[in-house]
């Protein structure tokens, strides 16, 4: 049995044991997160560190007498040992329930059905991966992370609900350098294709060659700017910081309060939605609830929906939409427009071509104002021609301006920005994002 098969067998056995151990009046929800991952860190096209991680963690939510205990603990994949751990932590959860006050917004568990999806990938073997990555990058100063292996998310509850989602996947998230100038590339999927990776690298090398000119330093000010999908993806990452959370709206911390209250609008050219049809992440959340296949968030510049967890729905007496407890997007898509790739530089005319942005944060949350830096392949363009790479610039700009009246056009193509986060463990997911042409994008430093 491989990792995915043995983990499934062990999870089913331990989950069934735990759910059968519940006493009258107790309900429980279980979540498994497991991975078997190879991480290779590169610098200067050489291996800096290689780490293999095999880990499994089980989450237990226990409801008893109107109280809620929430625990998670490492498990081993060895059924008998894991049953012992489950017994121990179930007892701890009962103690928690005895000590804590009643939870007025407790969500009654339900049976939200069954799903079972396992995607088998074609990944590089340990014997071939070092050569497969470094050989086509020979002569380049490559830095980055290769990450590959099995990744699993599963859920069961005491109402009979059962969900399983597993895949074998990889990403190679890298940068190529020419001194201090750099370009960014990412190659991700479930089946490694050496020719595709070589082509991805070749494209990055070509882009890097464009940067072999002296940097242009621009003074602060407002510039016409094209934000490539990678740069828009960074802007969109701020939507994960509470902007779309209904709970955040009610508690006064959502950057979209003025959009929700109709004091501000965004451009009719701007629409975004949750879209699980992209297949980047499982549709069930940590309560095993199924999110709608698609959910409009902003439609033609107007707020269509906040993300509302069932817990928030109960607290505020509204209808939820199966958002997870963080009420952040899990499968975000910004819808395309009409600007064709071939017309981007011509429509930009004179201004900035920005491939990527970096280190964003709210500078004025109530006005959806964001600061951050340009990063990687960013160019000065004159009369539709790339003239020179630019020295990094700091921007400070409100989404109500740049995605509002200053949004000139949205590209007719989108790119997938795969989730490459590996904090504590690998993550599923990603975004699908177009490029955008924006006038008067404000730079301050």
């Amino acid at each position: 049995m491989n990792f995915t098969e043995s983990t499934k067998k062990a999870f089913n056995a331990v989950a069934d044991h735990l759910l059968q151990s519940l006493q009258t009046g107790e309900e429980a929800n279980l979540n498994l997160h497991a991975e078997d991952t190879t991480f290779i860190r590169f610098n200067n096209n050489k291996v800096r560190q290689n780490t293999h991680v095999e880990q499994r963690s089980l989450g237990l939510l226990l409801q008893k007498n109107g109280k809620t205990a929430n625990l998670s603990f490492s498990i081993t994949g060895q059924v008998e040992e894991d049953k012992k751990r489950a017994d121990h932590w179930l007892a701890e959860a009962r103690k928690e329930c005895d000590l804590l006050p009643e939870d007025p917004y407790q969500v009654a568990l339900q049976n939200n059905g069954t799903s079972d999806s396992t995607i088998t990938g074609h990944l590089l073997s340990e014997g071939e991966l070092f050569k497969a990555i470094t050989e086509p990058a020979q002569g380049s100063d490559l830095a980055g992370l290769y990450c590959a292996g099995a990744l699993i998310s599963a859920n069961k509850n005491s109402k009979g609900q059962s969900h399983w989602f597993a895949n074998e996947s990889f990403f190679m998230d890298y940068s190529l350098y020419l001194g201090e100038k750099a370009v960014k590339g990412v190659y991700a999927g479930t089946a490694w294709n050496q020719a595709d990776f070589a082509a991805n690298l070749a494209q990055s090398k070509n882009q890097l060659a464009l940067m072999d000119r002296p940097k242009k330093t621009l003074p602060p000010g407002a510039y016409r700017a094209y934000l490539a999908p990678g740069a828009v993806a960074e802007l969109a990452s701020m939507f994960y910081w509470g902007a779309l959370s209904f709970n955040g709206y009610k508690q006064g911390t959502s950057a979209f309060m003025k959009l929700a209250d109709k004091e501000k609008t965004l451009s009719p050219l701007f629409s975004m939605q949750e879209n699980y049809k992209m297949g980047l992440i499982h549709q069930f959340n940590s309560l095993g609830e199924l999110s709608p296949e698609t959910l409009p968030l902003v439609s033609e510049g107007k707020l269509a929906n906040f993300l509302i967890s069932t817990r928030s729905a109960k607290e505020y007496s509204v209808t939820g939409n199966a958002a997870d407890s963080s009420e952040a997007p899990r499968s975000l898509e910004i819808l395309p427009g009409t600007l064709q790739k071939a017309d981007i530089l011509k429509e930009l005319g004179t201004g900035l071509y920005l491939s990527n942005l970096h280190y964003l944060n709210w500078s004025d949350r109530m006005n959806a104002r964001i600061t951050g830096m340009t990063r990687y392949a960013c160019f000065w363009v004159e009369n539709g021609e790339i003239v020179a790479p630019i020295a990094d610039m700091r921007f400070d700009e409100s989404l109500f301006d740049c995605l509002g009246q200053n949004l000139v056009a949205v590209t007719d193509f989108q790119e997938v920005d795969p989730q490459v986060s590996t904090y504590e463990s690998r993550s599923f997911g990603g975004k699908k994002i177009p490029g955008m042409l924006i006038k008067d994008f404000k730079f301050t430093l």
């Binding site: 610098n43 291996v47 293999h52 998670s72 006050p101 007025p104 006064g252 904090y423 301050t444």
Partner: protein, 481 residues
């Protein structure tokens, strides 16, 4: 289940079965219990306990370190991890970035325990919950308050490590991070005040930190300040003197000193993720980083600071070192591997977030040494300026040069006195220019930190501490919303 888990691991015995097949090996066993307690608007909001438990096998083969971590602590699980680590280290050694040796893994023997006055198991979930319910009740100072919360993150960690070079280390940490915050709203504006900025109030302590009277007093005051901010003027947009409190200096030191001095950033390891540094290897001993009032240390010996420890993950004993002396850059933040690669002296900061990550260069406790000024004198000496407190926004570039930071609360200084309250205070600048504009440093210091410093590929969140005085800077660009 205690922190070491239910399995009876014998690290020495397991290690002895491995040592003949590699040049060097280490087993690092980590167990960590993290408890979150949050009360919002007097009701339980988040009560979560996580127990993370695993082992990292580290080997040296053909001059290259290889790592394999597993949560399967059975004999077969640890042996499987060892085989993985060896096989991958052998494969990777033909592509290695540097030829390492056992010199980068000295023998270490000893133990470390956080200084705890009152053990965490002496306070119950109910007691914490009751204090927090009262804290959020104390924040109900106005009908303009729209949200009130009280949070604690309690972390109990044990590290055991043994190595074939004879190391045997046990380190045990007790960490409590707290935050109390209130959000006020009126006329389309909302303002939040927290207890020194997010979870900046984080220390190696015990249950003594849950002091009811102090928590209630602080909670009431910050709620009052959130309401006060609603009617405050915006911070002006101009260049002026800037006085910064320790709960914002923490962030300033972290971003514009700590990160740029990390050797792995200077070496380029981190370029693809968080970036690299404006500091070059030749700058050590030559670069005037700041005014001659600037003295910065790496100090893992401050008793309650978040990143105090006895040994780093390579076995290097931790001790205080000056990084910047009288404004001159003298030393960087690199562990033994980076020191070998750069041929520069460093510090004991080879650290990993847990058993499932390989250690990298991390800043630990980075502190600004005290000056000779009194805070009252610093205010009195300022004809016109802004006094900013508590971080709420941070952003700095790849090279740790162009920064922009925002605070929760500010006071205008006019003719040597604190006058109007200002909202939405922000400032921006470039690192070396900024530190060279330092013109006064207070004699008293406060200790804060962050439990959430992100870095590395694969990503790692680690704990950092910062002990800093109040600092006065001249001619800084400030602005409001």
């Amino acid at each position: 289940m205690n922190l070491t888990g239910s399995l009876n691991l014998n690290l020495h015995k397991t290690l002895s079965s491995f040592q003949d097949s590699v040049d060097w090996a280490q087993l690092r066993h980590v167990s960590e219990k993290t408890t979150y307690r949050t009360v919002r608007d007097e009701k339980p909001d988040r009560n979560h306990i996580s127990f993370d438990h695993g082992i990292m096998v580290e080997v040296l083969v053909n001059g290259h370190f290889g790592y394999a971590g597993t949560s399967d602590l059975s004999d077969s699980g640890v042996k499987r991890a060892f085989s993985k680590a060896v096989a991958m280290a052998k494969q990777a050694s033909s592509f290695k970035v540097h030829d390492f040796s056992v010199l980068q893994r000295p023998m270490a023997k000893g133990h470390y325990h956080s200084p705890v006055t009152r053990p965490m198991d002496s306070i119950s979930a109910k007691e914490i919950s009751d204090i927090f319910v009262d804290a959020t009740r104390a924040m109900k100072v106005s009908d303009k308050i729209v949200s009130r919360s009280a949070t604690a993150m309690i972390v109990e960690t044990e590290f055991f490590s043994v190595s074939t070079s004879g190391s045997d280390v046990h380190q045990k940490f007790s960490i409590v991070s707290t935050d109390f915050s209130a959000t006020a709203g009126a006329n389309g504006d909302t303002q939040t005040r927290s207890d020194s900025g997010g979870l900046a109030r984080c220390l190696q302590v015990g249950a003594e930190v849950f002091d009811r009277a102090s928590i209630l007093e602080r909670s009431k005051k910050l709620a009052e300040e959130s309401v006060e901010l609603l009617s405050a003027e915006n911070c002006p947009e101009t260049a002026m003197n800037l006085l910064i409190a320790p709960d914002q200096m923490t962030l300033q030191v972290h971003e514009s000193i700590g990160h740029p001095l990390e050797y792995d950033r200077i070496l380029g390891d981190e370029r693809n993720y968080a970036g690299w540094s404006f500091v070059k290897p030749d700058d050590f001993g030559k670069l005037r980083y700041g005014s001659n009032l600037m003295n910065v240390t790496f100090d893992p010996t401050i008793p309650d600071a978040l990143a105090s420890y006895a040994f780093d993950d390579s076995g290097n004993p931790a001790k205080k070192e000056f990084l910047i002396k009288d404004g001159l850059l003298v030393r960087g933040l690199g562990g033994l591997e980076s020191q070998a690669r750069l041929d520069l002296p460093g510090v004991a900061n080879t650290r990993s977030s847990s058993w499932n990550r390989a250690p990298i260069d991390r800043m630990a406790n980075i502190n600004l040494e005290p000056g000779t000024s009194k805070l009252s004198e610093m205010i009195a000496s300022t004809e016109r300026g802004v006094f900013m407190m508590a971080n709420k926004s941070w952003s700095i570039d790849d090279y740790r040069n162009k920064f922009q930071f925002g605070c929760e609360y500010a006071k205008l200084i006019e003719n040597g006195k604190l006058t109007k309250t200002l909202k939405n205070p922000n400032y921006r600048g470039t690192t070396v220019n900024f530190w060279n504009s330092l013109k006064a440093v207070s004699e008293n210091r406060e200790t804060y930190g962050s439990p959430y410093c992100g870095k590395g590929e694969p990503n790692q969140v680690i704990r950092v501490g910062h002990t800093t005085p109040y600092c006065l800077f001249s001619n800084i660009e400030v602005f409001g919303a």
